[in-house]
Symmetry: C2
Amino acid sequence: MDERQQLFHLLNVDGQQLSEKQMNILQAAIDMFAEKGYAATSTSEIAKRAGVAEGTIFRHYKTKKDLLLAIVKPTLFQSVAPFLAKKFVKDVFENEYEHYEQFVRAVFKNRYEFVKTYLPAIRVLWQEMSFHDDIKAQFQTIFTNHVYEKFKQIVEHFQQKGELAPHPPETVIRLTITTIAGFLATRFLIMPDYPWNDEQEMERTIQFLMNGLKA
Amino acid sequence: MDERQQLFHLLNVDGQQLSEKQMNILQAAIDMFAEKGYAATSTSEIAKRAGVAEGTIFRHYKTKKDLLLAIVKPTLFQSVAPFLAKKFVKDVFENEYEHYEQFVRAVFKNRYEFVKTYLPAIRVLWQEMSFHDDIKAQFQTIFTNHVYEKFKQIVEHFQQKGELAPHPPETVIRLTITTIAGFLATRFLIMPDYPWNDEQEMERTIQFLMNGLKA
DNA sequence: AATGATAGTGAGTACTCACTCACTTTTATG
DNA sequence: CATAAAAGTGAGTGAGTACTCACTATCATT
């Protein structure tokens, strides 16, 4: 699966085929939104970079905002994808992961690959979320209804097994997420040019997290 | 010191007096940049909100970007202010802080108050840093020359005392900063409406951090 | 009261913006 | 091959955009 197909895979949630030019538009829009921001990028620039006429953009997307949402919505869902799987909690309870550490390792590795693969689209999502209340609201909904609910069950499960400190689950969740997200943000957004040894640094991060959370 | 005076204090690094209208302009610009972003905010809107003519803005700031920098630059310096103080490291070495935990507590509390007080300006700094390479470069310079250098000495000091795990100092620094920043970002940017018990949550965060980092 | 400097004004300017529409080209289907 | 639907085009449009400039108001100093 080449890069183009991956992009296709990320954005094409409802299964429709995208034409070559449509993919050019999306690719150009993602790259330019990520670089300069949505508001500072004009539709004429996107058209030029994509090698299409400006009108072609508006044939597929009613407004510029529509184009943004076509990028941001699928990325939003994919960014919490593991937690959207039906059998996700069940896997944990049925000893797919015997310890919280194994669970964290699986999530960490999985999200590392995701960020690495789709960085520009994730940049756009993250940056524009602050400015668009509708996107922010959708994120909040998905998080509380899917991620938080399932994460809480998992944390309580391992707390009952005596693996985790008796903090409120939301605190354990917050510390887990910010530790992982903190690494990914530093690694890919803040200091992408630093000579990282990813495996080593992720290992240290997990040790830190497990030490910090243990009962 | 009322809110207006604090703003003045934050922005007016070089000691010049600002007129009433100048402060209105800065206040309006900070609020609107924080809400809608720099690129999506027009100078005419800022003028309207500040209650001045549009020309007045350009009397004081040559360009719109100049206005942004007048907000962002002082905020950037203030955001790492503790590390800019000359005697900062000396204080640590002369047992002002006997343990790393005391040092972390002091920084944490200090930066918590800073973020709480100047949240809108910090939003602007954080959001626009991604889009403006000059701002990003200035941040990198300050960080590597001042924050990182001093932080490293402090970490090595406490590692020699056997308080901290023998990770590379940059790893300890990263984990410390992302843990603190992770709390502040969650508290003030991502979930500002959640019913936080700040003292308790900061206490848990520090316990987590110290547990995670101890030798 | 007179002077010069600084602060403030708002209509005007050249230009860019998102978006439209009448038209042409490509593609799918019998 | 014929036909219609879908995709693609690019000049055109009106509503802004950042910024200018000739002018007025305010203020400190003599």
